[in-house]
Protein backbone atom coordinates (compact mmCIF):
# COMPACT_ATOMS: atom_id res chain seq x y z
CA UNK A 1 0.00 0.00 0.00
CA UNK A 2 1.01 3.62 -0.39
CA UNK A 3 1.18 5.89 2.63
CA UNK A 4 1.16 9.63 2.40
CA UNK A 5 3.70 11.92 3.98
CA UNK A 6 4.66 15.50 3.49
CA UNK A 7 7.42 14.60 1.08
CA UNK A 8 5.81 12.34 -1.46
CA UNK A 9 4.92 9.27 0.53
CA UNK A 10 6.19 5.71 0.41
CA UNK A 11 5.12 2.17 -0.35
CA UNK A 12 4.84 -0.83 1.93
CA UNK A 13 5.09 -3.54 -0.62
CA UNK A 14 6.99 -6.40 -2.12
CA UNK A 15 9.00 -6.20 -5.29
CA UNK A 16 10.95 -8.43 -7.58
CA UNK A 17 14.70 -8.80 -7.46
CA UNK A 18 15.94 -8.27 -10.99
CA UNK A 19 19.52 -9.13 -10.23
CA UNK A 20 21.89 -9.69 -7.34
CA UNK A 21 25.62 -9.67 -7.94
CA UNK A 22 28.77 -9.50 -5.85
CA UNK A 23 30.28 -6.02 -6.15
CA UNK A 24 33.28 -6.50 -3.86
CA UNK A 25 34.30 -8.78 -1.01
CA UNK A 26 31.09 -9.58 0.90
CA UNK A 27 29.35 -6.66 -0.82
CA UNK A 28 26.39 -7.20 -3.08
CA UNK A 29 24.56 -5.06 -5.59
CA UNK A 30 20.84 -5.73 -5.76
CA UNK A 31 18.47 -4.41 -8.40
CA UNK A 32 14.85 -4.17 -7.30
CA UNK A 33 12.04 -3.59 -9.72
CA UNK A 34 9.31 -1.20 -8.64
CA UNK A 35 8.40 1.57 -10.98
CA UNK A 36 6.59 3.75 -8.49
CA UNK A 37 9.27 3.54 -5.84
CA UNK A 38 11.87 4.29 -8.44
CA UNK A 39 9.98 7.30 -9.66
CA UNK A 40 9.63 8.74 -6.14
CA UNK A 41 13.16 7.98 -4.98
CA UNK A 42 15.48 10.89 -4.35
CA UNK A 43 19.19 10.83 -3.47
CA UNK A 44 19.73 10.29 0.26
CA UNK A 45 16.59 8.28 0.74
CA UNK A 46 16.67 4.70 1.90
CA UNK A 47 14.71 1.47 1.69
CA UNK A 48 13.72 -0.58 4.72
CA UNK A 49 13.85 -4.29 3.94
CA UNK A 50 12.43 -7.25 5.77
CA UNK A 51 15.04 -9.91 5.19
CA UNK A 52 12.96 -12.87 6.39
CA UNK A 53 14.50 -15.93 7.98
CA UNK A 54 13.00 -15.28 11.37
CA UNK A 55 14.41 -11.78 11.77
CA UNK A 56 12.08 -9.43 13.62
CA UNK A 57 12.76 -5.96 12.32
CA UNK A 58 13.71 -4.48 8.98
CA UNK A 59 17.12 -3.37 7.77
CA UNK A 60 17.76 0.05 6.22
CA UNK A 61 19.83 0.50 3.06
CA UNK A 62 20.51 3.67 1.13
CA UNK A 63 19.45 3.84 -2.45
CA UNK A 64 22.53 3.51 -4.67
CA UNK A 65 20.95 4.46 -7.96
CA UNK A 66 17.75 4.29 -9.92
CA UNK A 67 16.75 3.66 -13.50
CA UNK A 68 13.35 3.91 -15.14
CA UNK A 69 11.64 1.21 -13.15
CA UNK A 70 14.30 -0.05 -10.77
CA UNK A 71 16.27 1.00 -7.77
CA UNK A 72 19.61 -0.43 -6.77
CA UNK A 73 21.09 -0.92 -3.33
CA UNK A 74 24.51 -2.14 -2.29
CA UNK A 75 25.00 -3.88 0.98
CA UNK A 76 27.72 -5.53 2.94
CA UNK A 77 27.10 -8.83 4.70
CA UNK A 78 27.64 -8.01 8.35
CA UNK A 79 25.10 -10.08 10.27
CA UNK A 80 22.05 -12.22 10.03
CA UNK A 81 19.83 -9.94 7.97
CA UNK A 82 22.33 -9.10 5.27
CA UNK A 83 23.47 -12.73 5.15
CA UNK A 84 19.92 -13.80 4.37
CA UNK A 85 19.54 -11.00 1.87
CA UNK A 86 22.69 -12.05 0.07
CA UNK A 87 21.19 -15.49 -0.52
CA UNK A 88 18.19 -14.18 -2.36
CA UNK A 89 18.10 -14.94 -6.03
CA UNK A 90 17.01 -13.20 -9.17
CA UNK A 91 13.24 -13.54 -9.37
CA UNK A 92 12.74 -13.80 -5.59
CA UNK A 93 10.67 -11.08 -4.08
CA UNK A 94 11.81 -8.68 -1.41
CA UNK A 95 9.59 -7.06 1.17
CA UNK A 96 10.32 -3.37 1.49
CA UNK A 97 9.15 0.04 2.65
CA UNK A 98 10.46 2.74 0.36
CA UNK A 99 11.49 5.36 -0.38
CA UNK A 100 12.05 6.67 3.15
CA UNK A 101 13.64 9.67 4.76
CA UNK A 102 14.49 13.12 3.58
CA UNK A 103 16.95 13.17 0.76
CA UNK A 104 19.86 15.50 0.36
CA UNK A 105 18.89 19.11 -0.20
CA UNK A 106 19.36 20.57 -3.63
CA UNK A 107 22.30 22.94 -3.35
CA UNK A 108 23.86 25.01 -6.09
CA UNK A 109 27.58 25.04 -6.61
CA UNK A 110 30.42 22.59 -7.08
CA UNK A 111 30.02 19.60 -4.79
CA UNK A 112 32.62 17.60 -2.93
CA UNK A 113 31.49 14.08 -2.03
CA UNK A 114 33.32 12.27 0.72
CA UNK A 115 32.33 8.65 1.09
CA UNK A 116 33.66 6.11 3.55
CA UNK A 117 32.90 2.43 2.98
CA UNK A 118 29.27 1.73 2.26
CA UNK A 119 28.60 5.47 2.64
CA UNK A 120 29.34 5.46 -1.05
CA UNK A 121 25.77 4.32 -1.69
CA UNK A 122 23.78 7.52 -1.04
CA UNK A 123 26.54 9.73 -2.46
CA UNK A 124 26.72 7.68 -5.64
CA UNK A 125 23.02 8.30 -6.20
CA UNK A 126 23.36 11.96 -5.32
CA UNK A 127 26.35 12.54 -7.57
CA UNK A 128 24.39 11.27 -10.55
CA UNK A 129 22.08 14.25 -10.11
CA UNK A 130 24.35 17.19 -9.32
CA UNK A 131 26.77 19.47 -11.06
CA UNK A 132 30.25 18.06 -11.67
CA UNK A 133 32.54 17.99 -8.68
CA UNK A 134 34.95 15.76 -6.84
CA UNK A 135 34.10 12.32 -5.47
CA UNK A 136 36.45 10.99 -2.82
CA UNK A 137 35.80 7.41 -1.82
CA UNK A 138 37.81 5.59 0.78
CA UNK A 139 37.71 2.05 2.12
CA UNK A 140 39.72 0.18 4.70
CA UNK A 141 40.78 -2.68 2.47
CA UNK A 142 41.37 -3.06 -1.21
CA UNK A 143 38.90 -5.82 -1.78
CA UNK A 144 36.11 -3.66 -0.37
CA UNK A 145 36.21 -1.10 -3.16
CA UNK A 146 33.17 -1.20 -5.34
CA UNK A 147 33.66 0.06 -8.88
CA UNK A 148 32.39 3.62 -9.33
CA UNK A 149 34.52 4.74 -12.24
CA UNK A 150 31.34 5.28 -14.19
CA UNK A 151 30.88 8.48 -12.21
CA UNK A 152 33.54 10.06 -14.38
CA UNK A 153 30.93 10.08 -17.12
CA UNK A 154 28.98 12.59 -15.01
CA UNK A 155 32.00 14.86 -15.10
CA UNK A 156 33.21 14.14 -11.56
CA UNK A 157 36.81 13.78 -10.61
CA UNK A 158 36.94 10.42 -8.84
CA UNK A 159 39.55 9.77 -6.16
CA UNK A 160 39.63 6.29 -4.69
CA UNK A 161 41.63 5.70 -1.56
CA UNK A 162 42.41 2.55 0.30
CA UNK A 163 43.74 2.82 3.82
CA UNK A 164 45.41 -0.56 3.77
CA UNK A 165 47.49 0.08 0.67
CA UNK A 166 47.85 3.87 0.63
CA UNK A 167 47.98 4.44 4.36
CA UNK A 168 45.71 7.46 4.03
CA UNK A 169 42.13 8.22 4.90
CA UNK A 170 39.65 10.42 3.06
CA UNK A 171 39.90 12.96 5.87
CA UNK A 172 43.66 13.25 5.24
CA UNK A 173 43.21 14.38 1.67
CA UNK A 174 39.87 16.12 1.49
CA UNK A 175 41.25 19.53 2.33
CA UNK A 176 43.18 19.51 -0.96
CA UNK A 177 39.88 19.64 -2.77
CA UNK A 178 37.89 21.72 -0.36
CA UNK A 179 38.75 25.17 -1.67
CA UNK A 180 37.54 24.33 -5.16
CA UNK A 181 34.18 23.19 -3.90
CA UNK A 182 31.12 24.94 -2.54
CA UNK A 183 29.37 22.26 -0.58
CA UNK A 184 30.33 18.97 1.01
CA UNK A 185 28.19 15.84 1.16
CA UNK A 186 29.36 12.98 3.23
CA UNK A 187 28.31 9.54 4.34
CA UNK A 188 30.21 6.84 6.16
CA UNK A 189 31.39 5.91 9.65
CA UNK A 190 30.37 8.34 12.38
CA UNK A 191 33.95 9.11 13.36
CA UNK A 192 34.80 10.06 9.81
CA UNK A 193 31.78 12.31 9.54
CA UNK A 194 32.61 13.97 12.84
CA UNK A 195 36.04 14.86 11.50
CA UNK A 196 34.58 16.11 8.23
CA UNK A 197 32.06 18.21 10.10
CA UNK A 198 34.88 19.80 12.07
CA UNK A 199 36.93 20.52 8.95
CA UNK A 200 33.95 22.09 7.18
CA UNK A 201 33.01 24.14 10.19
CA UNK A 202 36.53 25.51 10.37
CA UNK A 203 36.63 26.22 6.66
CA UNK A 204 33.09 27.56 6.68
CA UNK A 205 31.86 25.16 4.02
CA UNK A 206 28.29 24.03 3.92
CA UNK A 207 28.18 20.36 4.75
CA UNK A 208 25.44 17.72 4.77
CA UNK A 209 25.81 14.34 6.38
CA UNK A 210 23.86 11.14 5.95
CA UNK A 211 23.68 9.66 9.43
CA UNK A 212 23.16 6.03 10.44
CA UNK A 213 21.49 4.72 13.55
CA UNK A 214 19.80 1.42 14.43
CA UNK A 215 16.21 1.55 13.33
CA UNK A 216 12.92 0.01 14.27
CA UNK A 217 10.01 1.16 12.18
CA UNK A 218 11.83 3.46 9.75
CA UNK A 219 8.76 5.68 9.54
CA UNK A 220 8.97 7.81 12.64
CA UNK A 221 6.75 5.88 15.01
CA UNK A 222 9.01 4.10 17.47
CA UNK A 223 11.71 6.65 18.34
CA UNK A 224 14.49 4.08 18.11
CA UNK A 225 16.76 5.75 15.59
CA UNK A 226 17.73 9.00 17.25
CA UNK A 227 20.87 11.07 16.87
CA UNK A 228 21.71 13.87 19.20
CA UNK A 229 21.39 17.31 17.68
CA UNK A 230 21.77 20.69 19.24
CA UNK A 231 18.00 20.80 19.63
CA UNK A 232 17.63 17.35 21.19
CA UNK A 233 17.24 13.85 19.84
CA UNK A 234 16.04 13.65 16.24
CA UNK A 235 14.86 10.58 14.41
CA UNK A 236 17.21 9.56 11.61
CA UNK A 237 14.40 7.91 9.69
CA UNK A 238 12.09 10.89 9.30
CA UNK A 239 14.02 13.93 10.48
CA UNK A 240 17.06 12.68 8.52
CA UNK A 241 18.95 10.67 7.48
CA UNK A 242 20.55 13.81 6.05
CA UNK A 243 21.42 16.48 8.61
CA UNK A 244 23.29 19.75 8.18
CA UNK A 245 26.66 19.11 9.81
CA UNK A 246 26.41 22.06 12.16
CA UNK A 247 23.22 20.77 13.78
CA UNK A 248 24.70 17.49 14.98
CA UNK A 249 25.87 17.23 18.58
CA UNK A 250 29.02 15.11 18.39
CA UNK A 251 29.79 14.95 22.08
CA UNK A 252 29.01 11.27 22.52
CA UNK A 253 30.55 10.03 19.25
Amino acid sequence: MKLKTENGGFFVTSAEILSIKPAAEKIFLMEIKHEKISSLARPGQFVHIYCGGGTSIRRPFSIFSKTGDCIEIIFRVVGRGTEILSRKRKGDSVDLIAPLGNGFPVVCGRPLFVAGGLGVAPLHFLSLATAAGVFIYGTKRKNEIIPIESLKASGHKVVILCEETEGKKVTDIMEEYLNDCDVVFSAGPAKMMKKIAEICLKKKKKCFLSMEERMGCGIGLCRSCVVKTKTGYKRVCVDGPVFPAETVDWKDV
Binding site: L3, K4, I57
Partner: protein, 274 residues
Protein backbone atom coordinates in the same frame (compact mmCIF):
# COMPACT_ATOMS: atom_id res chain seq x y z
CA UNK B 1 -14.72 -8.78 8.67
CA UNK B 2 -14.40 -8.39 12.42
CA UNK B 3 -17.20 -7.50 14.73
CA UNK B 4 -17.45 -4.79 17.26
CA UNK B 5 -16.28 -5.93 20.68
CA UNK B 6 -16.79 -4.61 24.15
CA UNK B 7 -13.63 -4.04 26.13
CA UNK B 8 -13.10 -2.14 29.36
CA UNK B 9 -16.55 -0.62 29.04
CA UNK B 10 -15.83 0.63 25.54
CA UNK B 11 -17.27 -0.51 22.30
CA UNK B 12 -14.47 -0.84 19.79
CA UNK B 13 -14.94 -1.64 16.15
CA UNK B 14 -12.64 -4.64 16.04
CA UNK B 15 -10.51 -6.46 18.60
CA UNK B 16 -7.14 -5.19 17.36
CA UNK B 17 -5.30 -2.47 19.22
CA UNK B 18 -2.04 -0.73 18.32
CA UNK B 19 0.38 -0.94 21.27
CA UNK B 20 1.75 2.08 23.02
CA UNK B 21 5.20 3.00 21.78
CA UNK B 22 5.00 1.07 18.53
CA UNK B 23 2.68 3.42 16.71
CA UNK B 24 3.81 6.93 17.54
CA UNK B 25 1.12 9.28 18.78
CA UNK B 26 -1.36 7.31 16.74
CA UNK B 27 -2.33 9.84 14.09
CA UNK B 28 0.76 9.89 11.88
CA UNK B 29 -0.71 7.55 9.30
CA UNK B 30 -4.48 7.87 9.39
CA UNK B 31 -4.87 5.19 6.73
CA UNK B 32 -3.22 2.74 9.11
CA UNK B 33 -4.68 3.93 12.41
CA UNK B 34 -8.26 3.82 11.29
CA UNK B 35 -8.04 0.08 10.73
CA UNK B 36 -7.50 -0.57 14.42
CA UNK B 37 -10.30 -1.01 16.89
CA UNK B 38 -8.34 1.29 19.15
CA UNK B 39 -4.99 3.00 19.14
CA UNK B 40 -2.90 3.54 22.26
CA UNK B 41 -0.64 6.56 21.96
CA UNK B 42 2.97 6.47 23.16
CA UNK B 43 3.24 6.79 26.93
CA UNK B 44 2.93 10.43 27.96
CA UNK B 45 4.54 11.97 31.03
CA UNK B 46 3.88 15.34 32.60
CA UNK B 47 7.20 16.80 31.49
CA UNK B 48 8.76 16.10 28.08
CA UNK B 49 11.30 13.29 28.25
CA UNK B 50 14.41 13.04 26.11
CA UNK B 51 14.66 9.29 26.39
CA UNK B 52 17.86 7.27 26.46
CA UNK B 53 20.91 7.89 24.35
CA UNK B 54 21.23 5.58 21.35
CA UNK B 55 21.51 2.69 20.64
CA UNK B 56 17.88 2.15 21.52
CA UNK B 57 16.85 -0.96 19.65
CA UNK B 58 18.40 -4.39 19.28
CA UNK B 59 17.29 -7.43 17.46
CA UNK B 60 17.77 -10.71 19.24
CA UNK B 61 16.74 -14.03 17.75
CA UNK B 62 12.99 -14.10 18.00
CA UNK B 63 12.53 -10.66 19.40
CA UNK B 64 13.41 -7.06 19.88
CA UNK B 65 14.87 -5.30 22.88
CA UNK B 66 14.23 -1.59 23.18
CA UNK B 67 15.43 1.08 25.53
CA UNK B 68 13.70 4.09 24.06
CA UNK B 69 13.13 5.24 27.61
CA UNK B 70 9.73 6.87 27.25
CA UNK B 71 10.86 9.70 24.98
CA UNK B 72 7.77 11.86 24.58
CA UNK B 73 6.82 15.44 24.07
CA UNK B 74 5.19 15.89 27.47
CA UNK B 75 1.56 16.33 28.48
CA UNK B 76 1.09 19.90 27.33
CA UNK B 77 2.49 19.41 23.85
CA UNK B 78 0.64 16.16 23.47
CA UNK B 79 -2.67 17.62 24.49
CA UNK B 80 -2.25 20.61 22.23
CA UNK B 81 -0.61 19.21 19.13
CA UNK B 82 -1.18 15.52 18.94
CA UNK B 83 -4.40 14.67 20.68
CA UNK B 84 -6.62 16.83 18.46
CA UNK B 85 -5.22 15.07 15.40
CA UNK B 86 -5.56 11.66 16.98
CA UNK B 87 -9.19 12.34 17.78
CA UNK B 88 -9.92 13.00 14.13
CA UNK B 89 -9.01 9.44 13.15
CA UNK B 90 -12.04 7.20 13.14
CA UNK B 91 -10.84 4.95 15.91
CA UNK B 92 -11.08 4.66 19.67
CA UNK B 93 -8.45 6.78 21.37
CA UNK B 94 -6.57 5.43 24.35
CA UNK B 95 -3.60 7.26 25.81
CA UNK B 96 -0.90 5.60 27.85
CA UNK B 97 0.35 7.62 30.78
CA UNK B 98 3.05 7.36 33.41
CA UNK B 99 3.43 9.41 36.55
CA UNK B 100 6.33 9.43 38.96
CA UNK B 101 4.07 10.16 41.88
CA UNK B 102 0.40 10.60 42.68
CA UNK B 103 0.40 14.27 41.71
CA UNK B 104 1.73 13.53 38.28
CA UNK B 105 -0.72 10.71 37.71
CA UNK B 106 -3.51 13.02 38.80
CA UNK B 107 -2.37 15.79 36.49
CA UNK B 108 -2.20 13.42 33.53
CA UNK B 109 -5.64 12.06 34.23
CA UNK B 110 -7.10 15.47 34.91
CA UNK B 111 -5.84 16.92 31.64
CA UNK B 112 -6.65 13.98 29.42
CA UNK B 113 -9.71 12.23 30.75
CA UNK B 114 -12.27 14.38 28.97
CA UNK B 115 -10.54 13.95 25.63
CA UNK B 116 -9.94 10.23 25.44
CA UNK B 117 -12.01 7.06 25.43
CA UNK B 118 -9.83 5.45 28.06
CA UNK B 119 -6.51 5.82 29.81
CA UNK B 120 -3.85 3.14 30.02
CA UNK B 121 -1.70 3.24 33.12
CA UNK B 122 1.82 2.13 32.28
CA UNK B 123 2.65 0.27 35.48
CA UNK B 124 5.35 -1.89 34.00
CA UNK B 125 7.84 0.06 31.89
CA UNK B 126 11.26 -1.56 32.29
CA UNK B 127 13.04 1.42 30.76
CA UNK B 128 12.96 3.61 33.82
CA UNK B 129 15.50 3.76 36.54
CA UNK B 130 12.80 3.19 39.09
CA UNK B 131 11.55 -0.24 39.90
CA UNK B 132 8.74 -1.59 37.84
CA UNK B 133 5.56 -0.62 39.74
CA UNK B 134 3.85 -3.99 39.48
CA UNK B 135 6.75 -5.55 41.36
CA UNK B 136 5.12 -4.03 44.42
CA UNK B 137 1.48 -5.06 44.04
CA UNK B 138 0.27 -3.46 47.26
CA UNK B 139 1.70 -0.05 46.45
CA UNK B 140 0.47 -0.38 42.92
CA UNK B 141 -3.00 -1.24 44.17
CA UNK B 142 -3.01 1.78 46.45
CA UNK B 143 -2.14 4.17 43.66
CA UNK B 144 -4.76 2.66 41.41
CA UNK B 145 -7.37 2.90 44.12
CA UNK B 146 -6.72 6.62 44.45
CA UNK B 147 -6.62 7.20 40.71
CA UNK B 148 -9.90 5.38 40.29
CA UNK B 149 -11.62 8.18 42.21
CA UNK B 150 -10.42 10.83 39.76
CA UNK B 151 -12.28 9.75 36.68
CA UNK B 152 -15.22 7.77 35.37
CA UNK B 153 -13.40 6.92 32.17
CA UNK B 154 -12.16 3.37 31.84
CA UNK B 155 -8.74 2.80 33.36
CA UNK B 156 -6.65 0.06 31.83
CA UNK B 157 -3.60 -1.29 33.65
CA UNK B 158 -0.59 -2.38 31.65
CA UNK B 159 1.31 -5.04 33.52
CA UNK B 160 3.91 -7.58 32.52
CA UNK B 161 3.93 -11.34 32.25
CA UNK B 162 6.64 -12.04 34.76
CA UNK B 163 5.74 -10.11 37.89
CA UNK B 164 2.91 -12.20 39.37
CA UNK B 165 0.46 -11.27 36.62
CA UNK B 166 -2.49 -13.21 38.02
CA UNK B 167 -2.20 -11.85 41.54
CA UNK B 168 -1.60 -8.31 40.28
CA UNK B 169 -4.57 -8.47 37.92
CA UNK B 170 -7.00 -9.65 40.57
CA UNK B 171 -5.80 -7.03 42.97
CA UNK B 172 -6.00 -4.21 40.45
CA UNK B 173 -9.40 -5.28 39.27
CA UNK B 174 -10.59 -5.28 42.87
CA UNK B 175 -9.33 -1.72 43.16
CA UNK B 176 -11.35 -0.58 40.19
CA UNK B 177 -9.28 -1.17 37.09
CA UNK B 178 -11.50 -1.87 34.08
CA UNK B 179 -9.12 -4.01 32.07
CA UNK B 180 -5.62 -5.45 31.97
CA UNK B 181 -3.06 -5.31 29.16
CA UNK B 182 -0.59 -8.12 29.50
CA UNK B 183 2.24 -7.78 28.71
CA UNK B 184 4.58 -4.87 28.54
CA UNK B 185 8.14 -5.69 27.46
CA UNK B 186 10.06 -7.90 29.83
CA UNK B 187 13.33 -6.77 31.41
CA UNK B 188 16.33 -8.05 29.49
CA UNK B 189 19.92 -7.12 28.86
CA UNK B 190 21.77 -7.03 25.63
CA UNK B 191 25.37 -6.50 24.64
CA UNK B 192 26.68 -4.37 21.82
CA UNK B 193 30.34 -3.70 21.20
CA UNK B 194 31.26 -4.81 24.69
CA UNK B 195 28.70 -2.68 26.48
CA UNK B 196 25.68 -4.05 28.24
CA UNK B 197 22.37 -2.29 27.88
CA UNK B 198 19.20 -2.90 29.85
CA UNK B 199 15.98 -2.84 27.94
CA UNK B 200 12.63 -4.47 27.44
CA UNK B 201 12.16 -7.65 25.44
CA UNK B 202 9.22 -8.05 23.09
CA UNK B 203 8.22 -10.23 20.18
CA UNK B 204 7.62 -13.90 19.79
CA UNK B 205 10.27 -14.73 22.40
CA UNK B 206 7.81 -13.66 25.06
CA UNK B 207 4.68 -15.26 23.65
CA UNK B 208 4.84 -18.47 25.66
CA UNK B 209 5.23 -16.49 28.84
CA UNK B 210 2.44 -14.07 28.06
CA UNK B 211 0.14 -16.93 27.10
CA UNK B 212 0.77 -18.62 30.40
CA UNK B 213 0.21 -15.36 32.24
CA UNK B 214 -3.11 -14.80 30.50
CA UNK B 215 -4.31 -18.30 31.28
CA UNK B 216 -3.49 -17.69 34.91
CA UNK B 217 -5.15 -14.28 35.01
CA UNK B 218 -8.26 -15.71 33.40
CA UNK B 219 -8.37 -18.54 35.89
CA UNK B 220 -8.40 -16.11 38.80
CA UNK B 221 -10.61 -13.33 37.54
CA UNK B 222 -12.99 -12.22 34.84
CA UNK B 223 -11.38 -8.85 34.24
CA UNK B 224 -11.24 -7.99 30.51
CA UNK B 225 -7.82 -8.90 29.14
CA UNK B 226 -5.92 -7.40 26.24
CA UNK B 227 -3.23 -9.82 25.10
CA UNK B 228 0.04 -8.24 24.04
CA UNK B 229 3.17 -10.18 23.25
CA UNK B 230 4.53 -11.52 20.03
CA UNK B 231 1.31 -11.33 18.06
CA UNK B 232 2.13 -11.61 14.38
CA UNK B 233 -0.98 -13.11 12.91
CA UNK B 234 -4.28 -14.87 13.25
CA UNK B 235 -2.79 -17.96 14.76
CA UNK B 236 -1.37 -16.00 17.65
CA UNK B 237 -4.68 -14.21 18.07
CA UNK B 238 -6.44 -17.51 18.19
CA UNK B 239 -4.05 -18.85 20.78
CA UNK B 240 -4.58 -15.81 22.97
CA UNK B 241 -8.32 -16.00 22.53
CA UNK B 242 -8.30 -19.58 23.73
CA UNK B 243 -6.18 -18.55 26.68
CA UNK B 244 -8.88 -16.11 27.71
CA UNK B 245 -8.02 -12.78 26.11
CA UNK B 246 -10.73 -10.45 24.82
CA UNK B 247 -8.77 -8.13 22.55
CA UNK B 248 -5.37 -8.24 20.91
CA UNK B 249 -2.62 -5.69 21.02
CA UNK B 250 -0.08 -5.53 18.21
CA UNK B 251 3.29 -4.28 19.35
CA UNK B 252 6.69 -4.71 17.78
CA UNK B 253 5.19 -6.43 14.76
CA UNK B 254 4.05 -2.95 13.73
CA UNK B 255 7.67 -1.91 13.35
CA UNK B 256 8.00 -4.55 10.70
CA UNK B 257 4.54 -4.45 9.18
CA UNK B 258 2.67 -1.25 9.97
CA UNK B 259 -0.01 -2.29 7.48
CA UNK B 260 -0.59 -5.68 9.05
CA UNK B 261 -4.35 -5.14 9.36
CA UNK B 262 -6.65 -6.63 8.23
CA UNK B 263 -5.08 -9.67 9.79
CA UNK B 264 -5.69 -12.40 7.27
CA UNK B 265 -2.95 -14.83 8.01
CA UNK B 266 0.20 -15.11 10.06
CA UNK B 267 2.87 -13.01 8.44
CA UNK B 268 5.23 -15.87 8.90
CA UNK B 269 4.48 -19.52 9.17
CA UNK B 270 6.80 -19.98 12.08
CA UNK B 271 6.18 -19.83 15.76
CA UNK B 272 3.86 -22.61 16.56
CA UNK B 273 3.86 -22.21 20.30
CA UNK B 274 0.23 -22.18 21.32
Amino acid sequence: MYDTVRFAGLEIKNPFIAASGCFGYGWEFPALSEKFGAVVAKTITVKPREGNSPPRIFEVPGGVINRVGLQNCGLKNFAEKHLPRLKKIGTTVIVSIFGENFRQWAELIGTLEKEVAALELNLSCPNLNKQILTKNPEKCGNIVEKLRKLTDKPLIAKINAVDSPAAVSSLLSDRGIDAIVCSNTIPARVELNGRIYKGGLSGRLIKNFVLKAIREIRKKSDVPIAACGGIRGLKDVDDYRKAGADVFVLGSVLLRQPDILPLEKNIDSEGDIV
